[in-house]
Symmetry: D2
């Protein structure tokens, strides 16, 4: 169980929102996020999140960002390029924890904003029913989904973006691809941990792959 | 099987799009819709639709119009007031046939436009998976859904409207209600044929009832 | 519109249940099915089905047969081997029309029984909501799904089989494969018309691919 | 953050699986469950669960038990009668926490077995996609679902039972009702916290209400 050490910097929330290998490192953003008059409700510090990760499945949302036409048809899907702890570039989707007393809608809005900026203007679905539920386990082979850090249950949504999407913070870039373009297959092969399956299922569910 | 009689006016498509009791009557709109240089592809005349109704299940879409806030949360749902063949006012949803070689999206757009006008600006869902499938039968008791005219399989969607909704043609009015307002229960009790169940399921699916 | 010619043999229903190329041929089964004291309700003769195919979208069910363990986890999926009109062997799923006044459950039971026999003991899902809706069009490129014969709207279900599955009639064989076996990729590449996408989506939806 | 006191008995897991009012009490079952050579993996003691409840949303499954016919049609649904901490009898569904490193299927099996016994023979769904996601909050009015103890995100499933269902432990009884029987409305009115909405949605989703 966690014990508070004030001198330990908080990187928990940063780390909680994106897979970064088995050990999480401290980055400048963590200090910025934790500076000042306190943390937002539901926020956990490093020890707390580590304790929770060893004891409980964590509730996550995972988002496939999309561009749609006026008929609702998906024309592009977005993937994120990030640098992991070993300096490798990885391609992934928007993922993030649902915090205490946060609705799924609030978690979606917050995590989309964190990765795509305040002007992304996400069009959230009217229902909380996800197109799939992805069960990530720290033990490879338990399911189709793997996360070295934790057991996470991710509610997965495809969310159209009506505004400008700009990569934020530690995200290198947001890359969009037409689902009928062969580049999509390259992108899918670059993804890991089962996120590629979530993207594939989103596209099949939307009827465009 | 239908035999063409040129003198029989075409009310099939009008009739096909809204339940009007056991016998369909001819209204001025029917002539307007059928006037001029021919009918749109997939359109059926009165004999054809009557033949099809006796031989095949018809593919329908059914739409619960909604107003949502920026978080995707349903704030209002719309119902339509129409006059049926016996002069009674009935409360219903947007329903319409999927025509030959028409996509579900095209059928949704066309039928929403027919009832709510060209400026309703529907936000169609990214997936064709409906929140429910309603099987209407002409024999009461076969399922929870009844349509005196036909066996229809309706794919049901909740569709947010971003623009101005104006009642069109034979629709008397479009009435909106907050799902938490007790007026909703009155509206639900005024609906028939199972359309009230579709509205209830839409609201439960959206998590607002 | 169809005109009755008594001398034209009925192959419509046979043909309606499996894609067989652009022109449908007559097989012994057709006569057997149409012999005797009449046809079942909702059955259409050749002319009627051809007329309907030119005028209306047809309602279909499509089934991915599965073997599951006691925890509900999919261990095998089945595909059918059939001979098409050009003598080519094709790999497909269970597909069939929903007849007039037939419930989706009845159509599922009848079509599964037609392809897998009376002892397949399908475990039908408690809800009519499909895992996907596949829109087949006779014009390639209109959607991800193609059927030379018709515009068909297929409600797609994964159905566990609890009994003995035996290929029937014109089906050469039913082949089962573990979703984690590389043979599955070969099977998927052998499928056409979008049926392979339905199989992929079924597996992703079930969390085993 | 929790601090271990060995003298505090563990009632956490018992309590975690069923709402029991704002304060949880210790019952004989808790000692039985915690006796002997240790607890199962993922099990939390009282302090740990209380800490988690103040810090994180907890992942839950909620099950509507059903009896279906051979066509998959729901003929009966089951509800549980339990005694809450104030001695009141409450009607509810099967609810339970998903433990660390437990799959959704394992959580469903364990929790169904806990309430209906080892011989209930649940027929688990082939997909982890729930018919709805219920967000329970300790603050009334945040959503349609209320749980005084915690923020819980419940994945909701309708699960047919093929075997004998017997009430276990603290459950007084399991009562089954035909969805078309007016008793169902009484049962629904006796349910609280939003569980009645989950039951209603299950029935509408199954097309039998």
């Amino acid at each position: 169980m966690p014990v508070l050490h004030d001198e330990i910097p908080d990187d928990s929330d940063f780390d909680a929102d994106r897979p970064r290998g088995e050990f999480s490192h401290i980055t400048p953003e963590d200090f910025i996020r934790d500076s000042g008059q306190g943390n937002p409700p539901g926020w956990l510090n490093a020890e707390e999140i580590n304790w929770a990760r060893a004891k409980l499945p964590l509730s996550y949302v995972e988002v496939v960002p999309a561009r749609i036409d006026t008929a609702g048809c998906v024309k592009q899907v977005g993937t994120l390029l990030c640098v992991d702890d070993d300096g490798n570039i990885e391609r992934t989707l928007i993922t993030g924890r649902i915090r205490y007393h946060e609705t799924i809608r609030e978690a979606l809005t917050r995590n989309i904003s964190k990765d795509l900026g305040e002007l992304a203007l996400p069009v959230l679905p009217p229902s909380p029913v996800p197109f799939t539920v992805a069960e990530f386990f720290p033990t490879p082979g338990t399911s189709e989904y793997y996360d070295a850090r934790q057991h996470a249950i991710a509610l997965c949504y495809l969310v159209p973006m009506a505004g400008d999407c700009k990569s934020q913070d530690e995200t290198l870039d947001v890359e969009w691809v037409d689902p009928h373009n062969e580049t999509l297959d390259i992108f899918i092969r670059q993804m890991q941990g089962g996120h590629e399956k979530i993207l594939q299922q989103a596209l099949l569910w939307a009827g465009v792959w």
